[in-house]
Amino acid sequence: MPINLKTPVVESREQRLGTIIAWDGTAEELAQQSGYAREGACGSCGPKARKLCEIQGPFTQGSICSEMMVECQAGNVRDAVTVQHSPIGCGVGQVIYNSIFRNGLAARGLPVQNLHLISTNLREKDMVYGGIDKLENSVRDAFERHHPKAIFIATSCATGIIGDDVDGAATKLEAELGIPVIPLHCEGFKSKHWSTGFDATQHGIVRQIVNKNPKKQEDLVNVINLWGSDVFTPMLGELGLRTNYVVDMATVEELAQLSEAVATVSHCFTLASYMAQALEQEYGVVEVKAPQPYGTVATDKWLREVARVTHREEKAEAYIEREHARIAPKLEELRGKLKGIKGYVATGSAYAHSMVEVLRELGVQVDGSLVFHHDPVYDSQDPRQDTLAHMVDNAGDVTNFSVSSRQQYQFYALLQKVKPDFIIIRHNGLAPLASRLGIPAIPLGDEHHPLGYQGLLNLGESILDVLAHKKFHQDLAAHTRLPYRKEWLAEPDPYILARPAVHN
């Protein structure tokens, strides 16, 4: 199904990909039931391969919303402003994404600055009479204050319900100000998973910012990532390629040249699926169809595919050989030290699949993993991007594989089943519980830390570091009380409250 760029509203993940947020079983089963070439789609769900059986329970804990992902993507473009058309509460996100933005800029060696997000601060009266005047006012404020190269508008649950004509206002203001004014539809209630917010941002960028008449730059590769340290430049540099990092911390000009690149890669398909496919579809920018570059097997495949589509095969082979030889002794040493250690991965979906591969290559035992959602397919629908199947085929099954949208109450029983020595996380919310159970966490704030050949060694070292933290966590575990009822903590099945399977 092609990506539809004609309408200003992005199609949600569940509409496009059949995304689910609750599921329990083995990784092998989930790979089987997902939409790629494998046989055996869920029988009870009908013929459409992408319809996965999803479980749904009455108890849910606070999750994350699409608007937050717009804030942390569009809101972190260096020379743009994002106007949050919402009551003031959505605006508090400015705090976290400012802190991350500042530290990301510092880590990447870019000038540190505060982000540019403006709340329209809607009040009770606006809920009755509409908030368009305030939106227009704030967009003009954004323009006068910062002279931005583009202005994004993030919608909210409130404006979605009252039905403000944000698209109309954006069109009018774009003509008035002479810069792209881009509505991003990201009402939290419209998608069950926050990654739709990534798509909303990317939808707006492809529609209104990328250069419509691109001049090809045959050595430029788009890297869709977050705030991670600059590991792609040296890697791609080995092949004589330049990087174009987007969306966080990019400039509008860097976003505009997305269509000029020769290829697109990413650190995670969950993040990059939509825009990488849209750029291929609209501008022939090749989305590199290879597993994500974590662990030697996937990194080899990834480099070879990058080299193939950019015609630099020889350089790649030499680099691969050199890197294998370079990391071998250290890898061996780490495997020795990590023998008998058990790890657990609890991160975003595609990223988790890769982390399991990295841990297993390091000799760490992985009996369980939790992902926040599952996309049965990514937008390309190309089986070479089937990260879950790649994990199963390359590194083996994970017997306790759970989809749980950051539901801490389920995490307790999941950890009891597996009893890991450490967990790997990115998002907040699960590590605090693990910590109170005596289990330390590695928070991968720098998403590139475990990437590529060096990433294997990086993660191995980080595991050794965090195992020492056990002293802290075990002391804490002996002196803490969990907010869950005894009966619940005694329950071995974290999905017991769920209703019989429903179809999404």
Partner: protein, 449 residues
């Protein structure tokens, strides 16, 4: 001073408060009380990660952070209403979460589609479940007004009626906004300590020194309510006066330093009609220790070579702003350059706040600004004449670049303080004042070379 002629905009850039549902922290700040949020999927996390995590990295505590139950409302709840979903969530919460009291707070979605939250919660209340609710949709107000709504909800729906006797010498303390104020835990501990020092029994109600809901049940028995803030909590005290016939003492300035704190304690003691001797004995002992440390500090203050700021600005909510300004002027002899109040206090209290600043000291009168939009705030600071050397700014993370631009020092004292780790640090009372001195001058000395 340059006057900004442009009409005030609705825009708020670099926010300094959350919305009414941010008052979910009013529940999490009470031991073993857990909020239940009826709202979109991001609201609970947003208010926590920003008001608590990236504000001193305070931690979620027992029932905050990712523990918070939420309906995570979807299109279905928007189109068909979410009352059934809320009912289902509460029922399930009772099976999963171990709490002494649940506090339902609502977001924009149920408040706009008109869910009858009262009748859903009412059903559980009739079953004897300890649960209350407050309608805190984001468009209704900020987390300050939300706090008062939640407090009143707990009083009316959980504490309930009381006809019995009063306990002389017991006071309910209503002061800093929990969690939003980065230092609330340490400050409430210090306030409780000094009030107990003069012989009061203190229902501190929030934080690690609170006895949880048992203490809240004691509220009606207290002799009086003490409102220690420029305005927050006054409407709570008035509500309690009406409900329980309890009187209240309102002292706008939270005391920092011996001078302020001793005067504060004498005022409270007089109101509570405490015997004078033990009060004076406590004050004398606290002052003895305080002034020994102040003497130690004075060597640095008198002899440090490389220059210390003379003028200061405070950007923050009225409670800390007023408290800091009084301390910096009266204890340290600093010169106020600009004071900006950022929490959007109700119109009817603004004049009384202005009056407080007009009499900071006998010889010092300050005209205070009210502004929430950081763009305007930073311009006000840039327009200020700080004299021949850069100021020290008491502000937030938003001022990090501004302080560099002005070559001044920044002490992050309020939301958001994303570059501070705060556990039990306090800046108020006798002990907090010394920590504050350490913080201010460590910041300045540390940046000097």
């Amino acid at each position: 001073m340059t006057e900004t002629v442009k009409e005030k905009t609705n825009s708020i850039e670099q926010i300094r408060y959350g919305c009414a549902i941010g008052a979910l922290h009013t529940a999490t700040a009470i031991p073993r009380v857990v909020p239940i949020t009826h709202c979109g999927p991001g609201c609970a996390d947003k208010q926590f990660m920003n008001l608590s995590f990236y504000n001193g990295f305070q931690g979620g505590g027992y029932g905050g952070g990712a523990v918070i139950p939420s309906t995570n409302a979807t299109e279905r709840e928007v189109v068909f209403g979410g009352a059934d979903r809320l009912h289902e969530l509460i029922e399930a919460t009772l099976k999963v979460i171990d709490a002494d009291l649940f506090t339902v707070v609502t977001g924009c979605i149920p408040d706009l589609v008109g869910d009858d939250v009262g009748s859903v919660v009412g059903e559980f209340q009739r079953r004897g479940v300890p649960i209350v609710y407050a309608e805190t949709g984001g468009f209704r107000g900020n987390n300050f007004t939300g706090h008062e709504l939640v407090v009143k909800a707990i009083v009316d729906q959980f504490v309930g009626e009381y006809e019995g006797p009063r306990e002389t010498g017991t006071v309910n303390l209503w002061s800093l906004l929990p969690v939003h104020n980065t230092f609330w835990r340490g400050d409430l501990t210090e306030l409780k300590r000094i009030l107990e020092g003069i012989g009061l029994k203190v229902n501190v109600l929030f934080g690690h020194e609170s006895k949880g809901v048992a203490e809240w049940k004691e509220i009606p028995k207290a002799q009086f309510n003490l409102v220690l803030s420029p305005w927050l909590g006054v409407s709570v005290a008035q509500h309690l006066e009406k409900k329980y016939g309890q009187t209240y003492l309102h002292i706008p300035a939270i005391p920092i330093g011996a001078k302020e704190t001793s005067a504060f304690l004498r005022k409270v003691a007089a109101y509570a009609e405490l015997p004078q001797e033990p009060v004076e004995a406590f004050i004398a002992e606290e002052e003895r220790r305080y002034y020994l440390y102040l003497e130690d500090f004075s060597d640095f203050y008198a002899e440090y070579w490389w220059g210390l700021p003379a003028k200061f600005a405070v950007i923050g909510d009225s409670a800390y702003n007023l408290a800091l300004t009084r301390f910096l002027v009266n204890q340290l002899g600093l010169i106020p350059g600009r004071q900006i109040i950022t929490e959007n206090p109700p119109d009817d209290v603004r004049e009384s706040i202005r009056e407080e600043y007009r009499r900071i000291a006998e010889d010092v009168s300050v005209e205070v600004d009210f502004e929430e939009d950081s763009w305007a705030i930073h311009n006000l600071i840039r327009e200020t004449d700080f004299g021949h050397k850069p100021p020290v700014i008491f502000g937030t993370t938003w001022e990090r670049d501004l302080a560099k631009e002005l070559k001044g020092a920044l002490v992050e004292v309020g939301f958001p303080a994303s570059y501070e780790l705060v556990l039990n640090r306090s800046y108020v009372g006798y002990r907090g004042a010394l920590s504050l001195l350490e913080k201010i001058y460590t910041t300045i000395v540390s940046a000097s070379a």
